[in-house]
Symmetry: C2
Subunit: 245 residues, 2 copies
């Protein structure tokens, strides 16, 4: 066996590092960044904050913070969200970790990206202080750091997830019309859908409770209002085994 190959095969130390290594070897800071989605004026939006680094002066960035030494990752993400929005009970999902060496100008910072879905009606955060801003996803460009890439990764993830799980409801008020729901899907996926097929699909899934209420304040025939029925969504473990490239 050639020596070069043998070298490769020499057992190396595993993840089970000893204490001293943990403390001394690594000087890597850890942060969490959140892509916070909201749905308003029939548009999918993202909450951004002005960068305070001179290097990125004037640019928008995602909301994030360093993870505290004794703070779980998910909890850190949750903290950022509740601090910013005052909301609890937020949908939150880890997406990807970005760790390029030079991604942050202040040193080695790797960041765990989350996205979250919030009901924009239920929060009233001050965005007019020019620090925070709801930007339409279509118009998000040129964010600070590698946040553009993080944003796009999270957005693609949302687009995929929303077709597989009923997440959309987290972006809507408790009561919504089917038109609202369709608008939501259309704006997230950036496509047009057939109204009849859309309704048929959702009714057949039996996830909506008919509230026997109507929209008000619409300048046309009002639609019925519905509510998402969590109880009915019991992750019907669909054992799907198709192949679909």
């Amino acid at each position: 066996m050639p020596e070069a190959l043998v070298k490769h095969l020499t057992p190396k130390k595993s993840i089970s590092v000893v204490q001293s290594e943990v403390q001394n070897t690594n000087r890597i800071a850890l942060s969490v960044d959140c892509v916070i989605f909201g749905f308003d004026e029939n548009k999918l939006k993202v909450l951004l904050i002005r960068s305070d680094l001179t290097k990125y002066k004037g640019k928008w960035s995602l909301l994030g913070d360093l993870v505290k030494p004794n703070e779980d990752l998910d909890r850190a993400a949750y903290r950022i969200l509740s601090q910013r929005t005052g909301l609890d009970d937020i949908y939150l999902e880890q997406v990807h970790t970005f760790g390029d060496i030079k991604r942050h100008p202040a040193g080695r910072v790797i960041t765990v990206a989350y996205y979250s879905l919030i009901n924009i009606q239920h929060h009233k955060l001050q965005t007019h202080d020019n620090e925070l801003h709801w930007e339409e996803v279509k118009h998000v460009t040129d964010l600070a750091f590698d946040h553009q890439e993080i944003f796009e990764t999270c957005y693609r993830r949302l687009q995929k997830r929303i077709q597989e799980h009923p997440l959309g409801f987290n972006l809507l008020p408790k009561k919504f019309s089917l038109r609202d729901l369709q608008n939501l899907y259309e704006s997230i996926l950036d496509i047009k859908m057939d109204r009849r097929n859309f309704r048929k699909k959702f009714f057949s899934m039996d996830l909506l409770t008919d509230l026997d209420e109507m929209e008000t304040d619409v300048p046309h025939r009002p639609g019925k209002l519905y509510q998402f029925n969590f109880r009915k969504y019991e992750k019907k473990k669909k054992i799907w085994s198709g192949i679909d490239f």
Copy 2:
């Protein structure tokens, strides 16, 4: 506006931390763990290594290592793989980051989990030194650290991905029969599939090159051999916009 709410709305410092913070605030070590899948004897297997921590004495764990201060995440995962297997050109995908405070006995270590697919024929690593071991996925239980959870997360991810993208080929030798391919899918998904429908599906996708060769050394009628045709898989951007919970 209530004071408590106002507090929530007060702008906090963003991700753009200053240099000093990066160096002093965080003492979090960063590692990478790889769930290395192989396919052998018609079984899906995972490469494990004996834990060298006394706390987990006798238990198996995933292959991993600390990320070096000036090493990209993906590169670190790649390094672990090529060190262990002597292979390059490996399929590698980041899955999830695990960061519970107490997940590692030696201190705060967060770990980025990857899975990889390797062609077990093309490597010949010494597993008989009792350090490394290929374990059938069905029999993987009770790994060290939180590696059981990491393993299961990565396995579920693989199961999903394999139905959406032609990854399976990375686990097979260059030349394979359709039976091999079906066995692969069946063992990854842990289901039985209909042979005729399976073949129909793959032929219709037009990803296989018929090599006009036959299996040898089989005690029955030999099957034809095929090769995966990367060229033909040009991520036909299927704009699927179904909803399927």
